[in-house]
Symmetry: C2
Amino acid sequence: MRYLDIAEVARQSGVPASTLRFYEEKGLIASTGRRGLRRLFEPGVLERLALIALGRAAGFSLDEIARMFASEGRPRIDRQMLAAKAEELDRTIRELSAMRDGLRHAAACPAPSHMECPTFRRILRAAASGAIGGRGKKVPPGS
Amino acid sequence: MRYLDIAEVARQSGVPASTLRFYEEKGLIASTGRRGLRRLFEPGVLERLALIALGRAAGFSLDEIARMFASEGRPRIDRQMLAAKAEELDRTIRELSAMRDGLRHAAACPAPSHMECPTFRRILRAAASGAIGGRGKKVPPGS
DNA sequence: GTGCCACTTCAAGTCGACTTGAGGTCAAGA
DNA sequence: TCTTGACCTCAAGTCGACTTGAAGTGGCAC
């Protein structure tokens, strides 16, 4: 069984068939040929999909990922880009840590109202001043 | 100057007027009255906006935030909800930290191709198995 | 040979958080 | 008084990453 059909790829990768078609349309993956109408994929597409999942998890957009794959066959991943993304993640992590600590405090704070808690007011000021960036929403569960 | 007009609120909070109207429509903030057509806001709206910014930064959706404000005037912030969100953040932080370390390694890795680097392949497997959740996109800069 | 149904295409819809645009109103300064 | 332009409303558009739906096709088990 050299080639995989879309259902098999979906099964092995956990990526829905609709998404696989979408990815192909976007140039993120390629089907090798067709059996009739049906796409056939080489097993290597699974590694490609893992790479895409990794990129997404690291915060890259599909377009950025497509650009990494762009030049040639082997993913040309720019080390500088990786380092930059690591930096960005690090900043995010620091913000989130502060937020987590603030939330923990607020959850445990004995002040009758949060508004009377100095710690809460401090985080509040940080949020108001934009010191803390938003994070957008998570990818829906199961994706 | 007891009341603030929308431009003043925008200036002091950094939140665009269009967003303030949007928030009012969603019930997140309220204008006290009108001078002609124009909304007038009490200064307290600024604290409200800070609270909203905080909630957003912590990862709450506008609807969730609205629900916290819902019951009465004083924000009724459920301590359990805060603790839960803190937990969630903590999970995210751990994932992001792993990802950051992985990216750092990949950026510095001497292997000719990332595919030949065991560390890279390990993260890749983690991403493929869905052990690492996506993060959605950041709120656009300046928001 | 034939029927089923997994696959196909293409367009449109979804979700959240806003922004933008068209067309209208009106408070205030000249 | 007149003009200006900041404000108003309401509908529609945007963005990214997909999903959904309708209508069609054809591989394969029987």
